[in-house]
Every structure is written in C-alpha cells, then in structure tokens.
C-alpha cells in the first residue's frame, strides 16, 4: 500500500507572529518556517506503518512556493521515499488543496492519505475532511491510534468527551492528533540520503485545478490586549480578591 502525506510549510510554532500595521496580513518576512507540527506526526506515522510492513511507499506532497521544497526534504530525511511539490504562490485554501490532492490521488492511487488535523497558521482544520468528501472515502480525523487489519483501518479519535474508535474501509483518510506518536528527528546520514531522493514538480494548471480563492481577507488585526493585572502575595489575599473584588466565588 502506498501512503500519501500532505505537508504544509508554516510559520514555526515558536514564532510570535506580528500583524502588519496596514492590516493586510501577518508579517512573514524573515520569519522561521517549518513543517506544520501535525504533518510531522503524519510523516512519522506513515514511516511506522512502512517499518511494520503495512506500507510500501511514502509520498510527501506540499502545495506552496518553491521553498516548500525544503519542507519536502525534511520529510524525505525523516524517511519518506519521494516528494511532489505543487507549485503555487497563491495561498491555497483548504478546498483548493483538497482538489489538488484529489487530482494527485487519481494519479498515485494511495491506499491511505495521512494529513495533519490542522495547519497552525490558518487554524482551518478542514483539508482532510474535504479530501475525503471529494474522493468519497471514509475519514478518521484527530487520530491518536491506527490499527490495520484485514483490509480495514481502526482509528481511535480524540473527541470532546474522550476517545472514539471507528472502523474504516480502505482507501481512507486519516488526520493526526498530538498523541498519535512522537516524530523522530532526521539523522545526519538520512539528511544526506534525502538529497538524492526525487522531488517531482507540478502546477495546479497542469492538474486542471482552479486556485481562485472563495474567501477574501478584508483585514487582519491584533486581538484586543488584556489589561495587565496585579500580583497577590498570599493565597488569603487571592481568595479575598476573588470574593470581594470580582465576586466570583
């Protein structure tokens, strides 16, 4: 079985982003970029399935600017076999990404696509579900455990009340949650080896997908700042304030 892993290049999770003064967006100049953390978990899970003999090949796919190639290299260094970059300079919406991935699935015929549950830049949490709908495949979102057996995939999902397990026909879509695994670091020899692994380049036009956005961002502003508070010296003082100043307890 072939596994496809879509990975997004995003602002590193440690960066405190700045909103542009003119309200047109977030300042991405000279900001550290990394693979979306949930996608690292997706790559790791694919590698583990391959190591367990359940998968034969791992294809890492990124949709974005030329620099997204670096993100693909990271996945290759972790253990993915080859990469595909769909080059576009427009910031593709989840619906567009899902359509591009669907077109790739028609070519690649993966048995499983593992995505992150959410890109930490746009916080959309949509792409995997949309891809599943377009392909009419089942989905196991927010996965914390996968188990393949006799042509079915059991997915344990992190839900608001705890955990839920569903069983899916294959091919299927999975999106990762934080507890699925702990991604490995690429070793130096593997980083060297990854330089020789192939990365194919494609364009949305060649795949016949219109990338025009449906959503227009009118403005981006900073959230309201909280007033800074006070330090209390003792627990007694804290309880007194909560009782007598705010009247909450």
């Amino acid at each position: 079985m072939k596994i496809m892993v879509p990975i997004k290049r995003v602002v590193d999770y440690n960066v405190k982003i700045r909103v542009k003064a003119d309200g047109t967006g977030v300042d991405l100049n000279n900001v550290k970029m990394s693979m979306n953390p949930f996608d690292e978990i997706a790559v790791e899970e694919a590698i583990r399935l391959k190591e367990a003999g359940s998968a034969t090949e791992i294809v890492a796919v990124s949709i974005g600017p030329q620099q997204a190639q670096e993100t693909i290299r990271t996945a290759l260094a972790m253990g993915a076999d080859r990469g595909i970059l769909i080059k576009t300079d427009t910031d593709a919406e989840p619906l567009t990404v899902a359509k591009l991935l669907k077109a790739l699935c028609a070519e690649e015929k993966p048995g499983l696509v593992i995505l992150g549950k959410q890109a930490i830049d746009n916080d959309c949490n949509q792409t995997g579900q949309m891809l599943a709908a377009l392909l009419q495949w089942p989905q196991g979102t927010f996965a914390s455990k996968l188990a393949l057996s006799s042509g079915k995939l059991a997915v344990t999902r992190e839900v608001d009340g705890g955990l839920q397990t569903v069983e899916l026909n294959l091919p299927a879509i999975v999106t990762t949650d934080l507890r699925l695994n702990e991604p490995r670091y690429a070793s130096l020899p593997n980083i060297m080896k990854a330089k020789k692994k192939p990365i194919d380049e494609k364009t949305p036009e060649a795949l016949g997908i219109d990338t025009a956005p449906r959503l227009k961002t009118l403005k981006v502003v900073e959230p309201p700042k909280r007033q800074s508070g006070v330090k209390v010296k003792t627990v007694g003082e804290l309880v007194d304030k909560l009782r007598n100043e705010v009247g909450i307890i």
Partner: protein
C-alpha cells in the same frame, strides 16, 4: 433564504452551545431552522423547539446518526443544504469532523471558528492561535461555518417552534462506529463551566491532580490541562485547553503550573478573570493574569482549598 443550524446533542440532552449557535445563525438571517440529527432523539428536538429565534426544527431520527459519524452526517446535511443560505455547526470535535465534508460536497469553502458575524457574508475568525483576527468575506453562494460558541450570547428559551421530520439520507456505509471510551466526571463540562481550574506540567503527576480536583470541587469548577500535562498522561486528552484543544471562556480561569505558551493562551485568554499560580515569576502566563500568585503550587493548592472551605456562603 433561511439558514440551517445543526444542534449539538448526545441523543439525550441538548448541549448549551446550541443556544449560542442559534444566536450566531440569527445574525445571518432571522429565519433559522435547527436540525436535530441523531437516533431516538425526539425529546432533544422538542427541547430544541423551545429556543427563541428558531422558526422550525428538523428532526432526522435514524440509527446511522447515533454516533454522528462524518460520512452519514455529511450526506444528510449536504442533501439539505441546497435550500439554505448558510449551514452552521458548533466548532467542537463533532462539527469540525463532518462540516468540512459538507462544504466540499457543495463545492464551497468553509469558514472555521467564527467569533463574529459582521454581515451575511463577512465573518471574523482567529488565525495563528488567536494572535491575529481575520475578517473574511465569502463569495460562495452557500456559507458553511463552524462557530466558536463562547463568543456568542445564548439564545433564550420559551418559544414553541414546530418539529418537522426529515427523511435520512442513505448511509454511505464506508465507516462503522466501534466504541466510545468517554471520560466520566461529575464535574461540569469544560466548555460550559463557570469556573475552570487547569493544571500543567508543574503538577508532576496524575496523582497530584487530586490537589486540583479538591479545589475545583469546592467552587463547582471544571478541570482542564495544558498539552504537556495531557502528553505526560496526567489527565485524559479531552482536558486539553488551547489552540488545538478546547477553547474556554469561563468567568474564572485558574492556571496552575502552566507556563502560558501561546498555544495554551489561545484556548483561555478570553476568560473573564484569569488567575495564575506559578513559582516562576517570569512565566508568560502572568502577562494575561488578572491575579498572579508566585508560589509553589504544592503549598498554594492545599492552602487554597482550606481558604475556600473557610469562606462563608456568598
């Protein structure tokens, strides 16, 4: 054109988020229909019919909706959507699971986690863990929206809308529910609680969370946690508050042994009053705290429990 809101419930009780969802839907169009999809859930539909602002309740009662699996839910909602200007669901793990599927079936973009309705086609939503607020305008004919319910007031009850039965859509039959393993707790639900007490890595063990539970139980609070506390196995995953966990906005949030990473702040910084207890006076959590106590939590929590016990009834 009317708008369709999808009720959040567990086949027995209507969840309070539904009341906020109806408020959000009503800002797009006054003609709000509320879909109750589930199994053996007529009583939920009857409760839903009392929400003010709901013109009509649609009841889809069939076995395939019992566990709200994405495939049958999306088939149902996708079929209904063509008669509506907008479809809205609560931005919890259920809504986030099936609604993007509905959007894709209708070939429209989804607008996730809205916190404000500016107009029928323009919405405000947080991006970058809430470090920026984006105002987005949709050019799609159908708006598909998940709603962050903490920022919308709850609709009143006392109305009496008609309940209409709708036929279920065929179950695609590609997924099957196997089991639920739900955390049991007598405490209030995290996203609905008036007070939340959360513990972080500073708690050091799951066993030490009993210090948190003791305080929580004195004030009727729900218990939450940081990702680090969940990853370490101190508490179950559904306790996680943050960018990629639950978003809460209680009247009082008490963060104990939590440093205040942006991913955690994303889930709690809209709380009315924030208290932080941390031994490191430089911890970023103090920048958002109304009341900060620099102290060892192993000393402060037992003291807090005692002080609360001493309080005369309010």
């Amino acid at each position: 054109m009317p708008v369709l809101a999808i009720a959040d419930h567990d086949n027995k009780d209507l969840k309070p988020g539904t009341l906020s969802l109806v408020t959000a839907a009503g800002k797009i169009d006054k003609d709000v229909h509320l879909l109750v999809a589930g199994s053996d859930c007529r009583s939920v539909a009857e409760t839903a019919a009392t929400i003010e602002g709901v013109a009509k309740v649609l009841l889809a009662d069939a076995a395939q909706y019992r566990n709200f699996l994405a495939e049958p839910m999306a088939a149902l909602v996708g079929g209904l959507a063509k008669d509506y200007a907008a479809v809205l669901a609560v931005a919890n793990t259920t809504g986030k699971n099936y609604l993007p599927r509905v959007a894709a079936l209708a070939d429209v973009s989804q607008i996730s986690d809205i916190v404000e309705v500016v107009s029928a086609d323009t919405f405000v939503r947080p991006i970058y863990a809430g470090n920026a607020m984006a105002t987005v305008q949709s050019s799609d004919k159908l708006k598909v929206i998940t709603v962050r319910t903490t920022t919308f007031a709850k609709a009143a009850t006392g109305g009496k809308a008609p309940v209409e039965t709708v036929a279920g859509a065929a179950d695609p039959g590609i997924s099957r529910h196997v089991a639920d393993e739900l955390s049991k707790s007598e405490r209030p639900e995290l996203t609905a609680a008036r007070i939340v007490v959360s513990g972080g890595r500073g708690m050091q063990s799951g066993d030490n969370f009993k210090l948190i539970y003791a305080v929580a139980d004195k004030i009727g609070a729900a218990v939450g946690a940081s990702r680090a506390a969940v990853d370490a196995g101190f508490v179950p995953n559904d306790y996680q508050v943050g960018q990629t966990g639950k978003v809460v906005a209680p009247e009082l949030y008490i963060a104990v042994g939590i440093s205040g990473a942006i991913q955690h702040l994303a889930g709690m910084k809209d709380s009315k009053v924030i208290v932080a207890i941390n031994k490191d006076e430089e911890a970023p959590i103090f920048q958002v705290a109304d009341y900060g106590l620099v102290a060892d939590l192993f000393k402060a929590l037992p003291e807090l429990e005692q002080e609360l016990a001493k309080l005369p009834p309010a």
